[in-house]
Amino acid sequence: MKIASRFLTRPDAVRTVMVSLDGEPVAARAGDSVAAALLAHSGDASRQSGKGAPRTAFCMMGICFDCLVEVDGQPNCQGCMITVRDGMVLRRQRGLRKLDGSANA
């Protein structure tokens, strides 16, 4: 399933920062959090839970941990607490990750 962003982008919000998401280039607004950039990009899941259920960022304030994403090789980063940077490499996580980044068997 593909759904466009569930949000409207304000006309004055220009996207000048380039990140990559699973290898695909994605434009983001400078100053936005990683979670906001992903929500602006698509309405689809940004993560799969341990049981394989689709999830996206939820609380946007650092408490729910549904926004977990791999940032520049670091798994389990809270996307809502990190500001996008030009050239950032983001990967969607599938399932739970151990602290060393490998998928939990």
Binding site: F7, S33, A40, C59, M60, I63, C64
Partner: protein
């Protein structure tokens, strides 16, 4: 020598007001907040280009002087600084960019604010379902506005968010309210007292007028929430209201049942907590100045019990006055004199709470859900799982956690503690306050190791 006279955790209205008062009284203040800027929830990002977003309203812009006052000499503010441990001393351990720091102070003020109450129902984990405060955070910090959303739930904040969306040109397609006539009737006995806060009442009525004028469809007395995926990835939201079943299709279902104190930091610090029946939430026990039973630790603001931004500021200043007194910078009579206007402001601001708590009380179906509704989002534990563990003899949060893993995920119970408590209470037990352990936010092992070796040297 300690790093500061006072370390304040949280730069919302409570923490900012306390910092300014303590510094003006000669105290050296270290203010820590995990967000990139000061403001807290209500004034999130207000210091940064606030004028470009007039739809956030006058009350939002009112946070600017509080942020500006942090420039005072005597205040050091650190942002992006997540506090994950409070030690005896007191000492505060915080992390930024993967590196932890330990700071000692004579006093610590916990002003970590509130979080939205979790609203569990079938489908609340689906992409496209969020708490209503989340898009409001996006409206304050990003270039995004909710698209054709449905707002569902109750509470003053829900009206405010609806009004901000209308003013921003992103009106919700519907407002589905859970409060019904019976709740309003129960609340009316608190109205005489609420008139002390007539200004707040008038503001609320103004918000409701704006929502009506914008022609937003409204349902009241709604219950039986369920969200499913519609064919195109939208959310199909069904509920009952007015004796009829309804179904709305929306890209974004935004729910709200009020806010509750964020108590992980105060619980992990060892402070005694109590259950607030009217607000259906745990809160730290504190005296009239915000002092807890742990030496050196005060609490203020919504993290100590929900009162809103004006009450938070007043409570922050009261705590700062008491801390200045304990530092020997203010004698008792001067403390009491200096605190009098804030004590009066706090009483005024709190006068409306019994009315709001009763009128917009959370529905039982969200406090103690049943069946396959997920309660613990991290570990994907359902209400039926929790209830089964109670049937098998679990009678407190700790046993439920051990039996089901609910609360063992990365959010450490922030999204399920209250629901587990609600289910335990609905099953006839008198549940204790759940424990919170350090680190209260996940810290990587390497960071802990680096801190340990640093402390040994």
């Amino acid at each position: 020598m300690p790093d500061a006279d006072l370390i304040i955790v949280g730069a919302g209205p409570a923490g900012m007001a306390a910092a300014a008062t303590a510094a003006a009284g000669g105290g050296r203040v270290l203010l820590l907040d995990e967000q990139p800027r000061a403001g807290g929830q209500i004034y999130r990002n207000v210091g940064a280009g606030g004028d470009a977003r007039p739809w956030l309203g006058k009350d939002y812009a009112a946070g600017r002087p509080l942020v500006a006052a942090l420039q005072a000499p005597g205040i050091t503010a650190e942002f992006g600084a997540t506090v994950w441990r409070i030690e005896a001393g007191p000492r505060v351990v915080w992390s930024r960019d993967g590196e932890s720091h330990v700071c000692a102070a004579r006093h610590v003020l916990l002003a970590g604010g509130a979080q939205e109450r979790p609203v569990p129902f079938p489908g609340w984990t689906l992409p496209g379902v969020m708490p209503a405060g989340a898009p409001q955070i996006l409206m304050k910090t990003s270039g995004l506005l909710p698209r054709d959303a449905v707002l569902a739930g109750s509470g003053p904040l829900l009206y405010l968010i609806a009004a901000q969306m209308i003013d921003a040109g992103a009106a919700p397609q519907a407002l589905v309210e859970t409060q019904g006539p019976a709740m309003m009737l129960r609340a009316t006995r608190h109205l005489p007292r609420a008139l002390m806060a007539a200004g707040t009442l008038a503001k609320g009525l103004g918000l409701i007028r704006k929502i009506k004028a914008a022609g937003v469809a409204r349902h009241t007395g709604a219950a039986g929430f369920r969200a499913e995926v519609a064919g195109d990835g939208d959310i199909a939201f069904s509920f009952t209201a007015g004796g009829r079943a309804h179904r709305l299709v929306t890209p974004l279902l935004l729910t709200h049942q009020g806010v509750v104190p964020s108590t992980h930091v105060s619980r992990a610090a060892g402070a005694a907590h109590e259950w607030n029946e009217a607000q259906q939430a745990f809160q730290p026990k504190r005296d009239a100045w915000g002092a807890t039973d742990v030496p050196g630790i005060h609490v203020a603001g919504d993290g100590a019990g929900i009162g809103g931004a004006e009450a938070a500021q007043a409570a922050g200043r009261l705590a700062a006055c008491d801390i200045l007194h304990r530092l020997g910078r203010l004698d008792e009579a001067s403390r009491d004199r200096k605190a009098a206007p804030d004590r009066a402001a706090l009483r005024r601001a709190m006068a409306i709470r019994p009315f709001l708590d009763a009128a917009y009380a959370p529905l039982p179906e969200f406090l103690a859900p049943e069946g396959d509704t997920i309660v613990c989002r991290c570990e994907e534990i359902t209400a039926a799982d929790i209830r089964a563990s109670v049937d098998e003899g679990a009678n407190g949060p700790r046993q439920v956690k051990t039996a089901t893993r609910a609360g063992m995920g990365p959010c450490q119970g922030r999204m399920c503690d209250l629901t587990v408590r609600g289910i335990l209470a609905a099953c006839g037990t008198r549940p204790a306050t759940p424990r919170a352990r350090t680190p209260i936010k996940p810290v990587k092992l390497g960071e802990l190791a680096a801190l340990a070796s640093h402390q040994e040297t």
